[in-house]
Symmetry: C2
Subunit: 226 residues, 2 copies
């Protein structure tokens, strides 16, 4: 971390986790440049939530970069021929998007370098990393190493830091932290298959983890279900 928090790039999906990370980065004093990725996800309505959240949580600005991952397929989140599962699964779920966090962090890294920022925040978390390989601490550490080799800034002696402050937190802990920081979680959208009005299905993996998180945290669930 830099001595004085400066600019940071914060990956913001519109979901609960990344909204919490944005609030945490702001509370640490960073000037937050929110970055959303439109990657061909079925649930693109979450990007509308990201716009609202960036404003509500005091981001300095917000940009959306489009990447046409549907061109290479391979995930229930981008391929309309693979259904989103509605029952608990074991192992790595079909909603896994190959190399997604590598891609998101690479775009964030390019943006950070452009801005002169050295801090990048991502909402990878403990609940996810039971299933997604690119939500594990070793992955985050490897990306930080890469970032410092990959860039002009790295060669010039600046150090990039990849912050994943949710890594060791369960969903209920994340929610409690966000409530403490004043987040209105009614603005966030976690569902993998929301309707056009942004109402959640209540049945996909992401909805189930989120709903249980509110129960475990002992706070009312503000999610709009359809």
């Amino acid at each position: 971390m830099t001595d004085q928090p400066g600019k940071a790039v914060v990956l913001l999906s519109g979901g609960l986790d990344s909204a919490t990370v944005l609030a945490m980065a702001r509370s640490e004093g960073f000037e937050c440049h929110a970055l959303s990725i439109r990657y061909g996800q079925r649930h693109a309505v979450e990007l509308q939530a990201a716009v609202t959240l960036a404003l509500a949580l005091g981001a300095a600005d917000h940009r959306t970069v489009a990447v046409d991952l549907a061109a290479i397929g391979g995930s229930a989140l981008t391929d309309p021929d693979i259904p989103v599962p509605e029952a608990a699964t074991t192992g790595i779920p079909v909603t896994y998007v190959p190399a997604r966090n590598s891609l998101f962090l690479s775009i964030a890294l390019g943006y950070a370098e452009t801005l002169g920022a050295q801090d990048i925040f991502i909402g990878a978390n403990a609940v996810d990393y039971s299933g997604y390989p690119d939500c594990r601490p070793a992955f985050i550490a490897a990306f930080e190493t890469l970032a410092n080799l990959a860039t002009k800034a790295g060669i010039e002696g600046k150090r990039f830091h990849i912050h994943a402050p949710l890594l060791d937190l369960g969903k209920a802990e994340i929610i409690r932290e966000g409530i403490r920081l004043g987040i209105d979680y009614g603005l966030t959208l976690s569902c993998y298959q929301p309707d056009a009005e942004g109402r959640a299905c209540g049945r996909c993996d992401s909805c189930r983890l989120r709903r249980q998180g509110f129960i475990d945290a002992g706070v009312p669930d503000p999610t709009r279900y359809r």
Copy 2:
């Protein structure tokens, strides 16, 4: 490397280097899935060259993924307000695109995982890595480490290999190897600011390196200059 060459993803820009890499991967017996990235580069006409090259060099297929890097700016190659230099420069050139190879390799990694491929080829080379940080051997090695942590395939014990066979070659050596493999370099386009017909300027960094390469290799330069 796998014992039997199987599928490989080959990053193909339409330029001289990546065309040579595709020919090399084919000569090693790989079933090559060519991948081009439309990243907001001014010289998008190079993508037309990539289509021609994929066919001419026997790729099994060819896909183009669009990434709107212009949304985050920062390079002469994507930002129309930064001119492409036409004289030799020292240090890292303004044509450096922040984190470009991290991004390209991340997309290639996602595609490889989708295909069940474990081999990824990229045309990073010695001439470039005097200027571009993400063309150095340490960067390529760090990405290979990342790839094996980032993916479902990596968790399941498959190993990804990032091949950068041009790393230690000068431009003339690359050209000699490509000629040996039968490449028609007249199909390739290296210029950062070609005209709409794909004719090269002859003055940008990339043109000057290429032109000198043909001179040093002692072979006729088939480039169409405007």
